[in-house]
């Protein structure tokens, strides 16, 4: 809730200072700091709970944030969810923005890209789980034939996309997402440094994002 002073009942009299009561202030003129709010000022206002500042940032940068998410996801609805996540995160944790590391625009679009990749990873994990359970439970009594077909289609589309990856990228994706290994274990299994394993996974996800049928994500 806003702290609205009109609601405050205070017992303060009109006079708080005995010696300065009604003194005509001779303090000079306010020094205004620029006409355009800087990124650090907007972040400081958001930290102070100023939702007008959040609205200003949204008006300035939501288009770029949306574009960043849309480029990764290729799905407008999912991209809107990412925009919401990014701005709610900024509102709740404005201290995560460090002006010395870049502009607010860069910060938010990078956040959107990471969040979008999280969404992709979540979808891949979900698809992998479905594929595993498809293999482990040959017949499910309460699943309809159409359910089987849809699940199999989903799993096979993901599998087909993974098969199209270069060998090095395919290997790390299979280890990380189908076998559930950590980056460290993936690095150990493939004999490469952990950073290289992470890079390969990131590259693989970017490639998968282009390969996967967008309808797969929309239908989920």
């Amino acid at each position: 809730m806003w702290r609205r002073i009109s609601d405050v009942t205070t017992a303060v009299s009109a006079r708080i200072s005995a010696n300065r009561c009604c003194d005509a202030p001779a303090l000079g003129t306010v020094r205004l700091v620029g006409s355009t709010p800087t990124d650090s000022l907007l972040a400081a206002r958001i930290a102070a709970g100023d939702d007008r500042a959040l609205a200003e940032v949204f008006d300035l940068l939501s288009g770029a944030v949306y574009a960043s998410a849309l480029r990764v996801l290729g799905n407008g609805s999912l991209a809107q969810d990412v925009v919401q996540d990014v701005f709610v995160e900024l509102w709740c944790h404005p201290e995560k923005y460090d002006e010395s590391l870049g502009t607010l625009r860069t910060f938010l679009t990078v956040c959107a890209r990471h969040r979008a990749h999280d969404v992709i990873r979540g979808e891949l994990r979900r698809a992998a789980r479905e594929e595993r359970s498809e293999r482990m439970i040959p017949t499910q009594r309460d699943a309809s034939p159409s359910d089987h077909v849809a699940a199999a289609e989903t799993a096979s589309e993901v599998r087909a996309a993974v098969e199209l990856l270069p060998p090095g990228q395919r290997e790390v994706v299979e280890l990380a997402y189908f076998r559930g290994l950590s980056y460290r274990d993936v690095a150990r299994a493939t004999g490469v440094p952990e950073g290289t394993a992470k890079s390969r996974v990131r590259l693989a996800l970017a490639r998968l994002e282009a390969l996967l049928d967008r309808q797969l994500l929309e239908s989920s």
Binding site: I16, L27, V30, R31, L32, G34, G49, D51, F87, W91
Partner: protein
């Protein structure tokens, strides 16, 4: 640079609503731990006595404020504490007593005393105030105390006292070339909150009666955001919009009348920022 893409119009409203649902507006993050007004006063007193303990004999003789050296200023604060205790006891004589004249005797009494004795006298006076407040908390709940032209709740009075101690602590620091101090975020939160509550009165009594809807944003630790209706509304319920953004500590220094307006970094939108901030500076106790 990432290109901008038109977004669905309803997304703005949805995002802002989700944000405010996740974190209410007005309060600063990271949130400061809530403390009582008594605790705020106790912390300010600890900081003040800590400074006094570090001063050399020569520094105790340094001129600080008006005609007072450090020791005389501490004597003034002993006098203020005595008046606080009288006010808490219901003594009506201190209700309209002058903040400075009323304490002159206590200030003068420190001349030629050992500074350590002055420091001990002040510490004892501050501790007595805390003891009285704590012992009579149930009795003073919701009641108003009158002192030095102010009518305040006991809690507000203690925050005013914390404000004054911090102000004078920094008067001394400036006089002896020590770096300025800043209260912790919990104390600052109480100080800014009280200062903002008093702002409409300050604006009114300085003759700035133009109806104004002030959106005040105090940045940094102890800050927050307030919507404050200012001025005499009369038949005009709507005031002109004014947004002021300023650092919370700077705002407190302004309210203490320890910084000039032209030395403040202020971001404002709308007319009248000078008028409102100048009025804030008249809240100062000297």
């Amino acid at each position: 640079m990432t290109a901008s893409t038109p977004i669905p119009s309803e997304l703005r409203e949805r995002v802002l609503a989700a944000s405010l649902a996740a974190r209410a507006g007005g309060r600063a993050v990271p949130a400061a731990a809530e403390i009582s007004a008594t605790e705020a006063f106790a912390r300010a007193a600890d900081a003040f006595v800590g400074l006094l303990s570090s001063l050399t004999s020569a520094q105790w003789r340094t001129p600080v404020l008006r005609d007072l050296d450090v020791q005389g200023l501490v004597g003034h604060l002993i006098g203020v504490e005595q008046d606080v205790q009288r006010a808490l006891a219901g003594d009506e004589e201190v209700a309209d007593a002058d903040h400075i004249a009323s304490t002159q005797e206590a200030a003068a009494a420190q001349a030629d005393r050992d500074p350590a004795l002055t420091r001990t006298s002040w510490r004892r006076a501050a501790d007595q105030t805390i003891d009285i407040v704590e012992a009579t908390a149930h009795q003073h709940a919701g009641s108003v105390v009158s002192m030095h032209g102010m009518r305040l709740s006991v809690d507000a009075l203690l925050v005013v006292r914390a404000f004054e101690l911090w102000t004078h602590e920094n008067d001394i620091r400036r006089a002896v070339d020590m770096p300025a101090s800043v209260p912790d975020a919990s104390v600052l939160t109480l100080m800014t909150d009280l200062a903002v509550q008093l702002l409409p009165h300050a604006v009114t009594r300085t003759g700035s009666a133009e109806p104004t809807d002030l959106h005040l944003v105090l940045t940094g630790a102890g800050g927050g955001t307030w919507d404050v209706p200012l001025g005499n509304r009369g038949e005009r319920p709507e005031g002109q919009d004014l947004t002021i953004v300023v650092d919370a500590v700077d705002f407190c220094r302004l309210v203490a009348n320890r910084v000039a307006l032209d030395a403040l970094d202020v971001h404002s939108e709308g007319d009248g920022a000078d008028r409102v901030l100048a009025a804030a500076a008249t809240l100062a106790l000297d």
